[in-house]
Symmetry: C4
Subunit: 201 residues, 4 copies
Amino acid sequence: MQYKQHLVQVIHFLHAQGWAPATSSNYSFRETDEANFYISESGIDKGEFTVENFLLVNSEGLPIEDARKPLAETALHCSIYKLFPEAHCILHTHTILNTILSQHFLSQKALILANYEILKGLDGIKTHEVIVEIPIFDNTQDIPTLAKEMQRYATTQALRAFLIAGHGMYTWGTTIAEAKRHVEVVEFLLECEYRKLLLAK
Amino acid sequence: MQYKQHLVQVIHFLHAQGWAPATSSNYSFRETDEANFYISESGIDKGEFTVENFLLVNSEGLPIEDARKPLAETALHCSIYKLFPEAHCILHTHTILNTILSQHFLSQKALILANYEILKGLDGIKTHEVIVEIPIFDNTQDIPTLAKEMQRYATTQALRAFLIAGHGMYTWGTTIAEAKRHVEVVEFLLECEYRKLLLAK
Amino acid sequence: MQYKQHLVQVIHFLHAQGWAPATSSNYSFRETDEANFYISESGIDKGEFTVENFLLVNSEGLPIEDARKPLAETALHCSIYKLFPEAHCILHTHTILNTILSQHFLSQKALILANYEILKGLDGIKTHEVIVEIPIFDNTQDIPTLAKEMQRYATTQALRAFLIAGHGMYTWGTTIAEAKRHVEVVEFLLECEYRKLLLAK
Amino acid sequence: MQYKQHLVQVIHFLHAQGWAPATSSNYSFRETDEANFYISESGIDKGEFTVENFLLVNSEGLPIEDARKPLAETALHCSIYKLFPEAHCILHTHTILNTILSQHFLSQKALILANYEILKGLDGIKTHEVIVEIPIFDNTQDIPTLAKEMQRYATTQALRAFLIAGHGMYTWGTTIAEAKRHVEVVEFLLECEYRKLLLAK
């Protein structure tokens, strides 16, 4: 399947889970040896998203032969592609659980996940006997600030995904399928963690 | 797409979310420069709603060349269109969360929403650093009383949606797509608020 | 639409909600002036239920020109049709909420529902200012005992639906559509009640 | 319907429930009088699983005329088929509820289910007046150890399903339909148990 069609299919899947409500969320991919990448247009209901709603931008996020203005978060996608040259797809979802748990754990700056079999669905993890940290950043309108925070974090620790408080999650992968798998793993574990918090009360 | 078909599609989406059970909920739209509007017929299972189930009424809610009796809530739609001349679509949903949180917060007369990124999905909101108030009115069989309560509130504060205790939500937009987005934003936040209430206990 | 096809469609809807898991639940309807009725065969996955899975039985529950043995609960359907001559469809669902709340409220012998707008979706109710009681009976393998309990209750109070502890709900209507609406109303309110119980803790 | 197609249909159903996220879960079946069995290939998104994704292996789990390497859990399927000669289908799901409740009840080594009507959906159970124990084993990368634990348990008590802490559930049946029914019964009851734990707090 072509990249564009594959990512549209994934976007419809994410939307059907309720993970991209009300025109929220954004997505991008780049082809094998390209610095340019395709990013989703802003303001589109993700249940109606089509291949026409991708915009080609260069590695600085400037549109290539396209009159449409890329969304503000394009700068964050640029930073992720620069930090992780092997990444070819970035998915930003906006879910009830990533919204409230990013707020709930903001004071400890991270969500800590341990001893779950499904963690093996994250790139590079071979055993459930592992502790995975998903950092949580403050929400801000200032995308370059967010990008810097993410870069600073990545210089000290493995980074596979991050949360923005009250806003959502970013994750990525070497393929569209891997990025999708990362979303599913983290969303599954957010629901596990939330339900365990209620049990522990 | 034609207005009628577009709104039918939105009604089927809302029904599929479980937001219009048991023939509850109602919907209307008006075309660009019309005072008349189309409103959903009463008693229809929203999973089976078709373009034939719309009824044309005038700005006072009286049917135009149609023998069917419009539902009692038509008067509320008339009031909303008069108060908000830019509105072209009104959606009234009936969900588990809007039922119970409208009861839960009734004593404080409003649901207060703050610091959520998704609030930017509401018309006119440009930052998550905002406080949005969704008023809650007492449930009553007396629709003119409800309409007056809504008008009184709107004269003092911005009004984008309101809840009726134990009954549901009304929201609207300049387009069908915007009204749908408003439903999604508020329902998403109702679930966030409910889940945070449980965490806070 | 023909009765059989209509009820199959409703069964698929109920199954899709997760209200008929693991071959549980049963359903029947009778045509306008018939004492005989059609009842669902036992042991069928409701996601695969077809018109072939109905069995014609007489008012005593004995099969008419059919070698298949009707399910044990057929006796309960017979009793309901005798008690409520206007009923033409009976739906028995088996849901997570009706299972656990029928256990939770068993000591008080009933689920009490009040002040919900959606109660107007129950036959004969014209205002939300009403108290509706859904009785809860002990679960038993002995269907005639259950039928007697139901009959005794109905002689003293209005009965539109009942719960069997840890087992499920029975409701009915003058039409298939009305019976379906009754299921939706009660399931909606079971979820409301459960969520309010958690808030109240 | 052919076995392979039937199991693919069941896998898609389980995936649609959210019970097989992120390429997790595995499945197998054997035809009536065969020691060889077909098992699902590793690493496949279960929403896209097709008949091509089955691998034929012998009773020791070695692939028959197939270059693909079977997944590590194949050894567990071999052990189950040896212990239960009447079993013809094994389903391993990976759900939010089986993940967290297997962790929650790990210290008591089992999930105890009693007095639920739906228990009659488990093979050999004829009344809700029954206590069913689903053992919980520690999660381990060492599949032979897990297989031995399961065998030891089965020599002392009836075994219809087991949980692995933080990992998922295995169950089986004499047919694909029965194995599916077992998954549905246990998942339904896990949700009942979880919700009752919250009520009891």
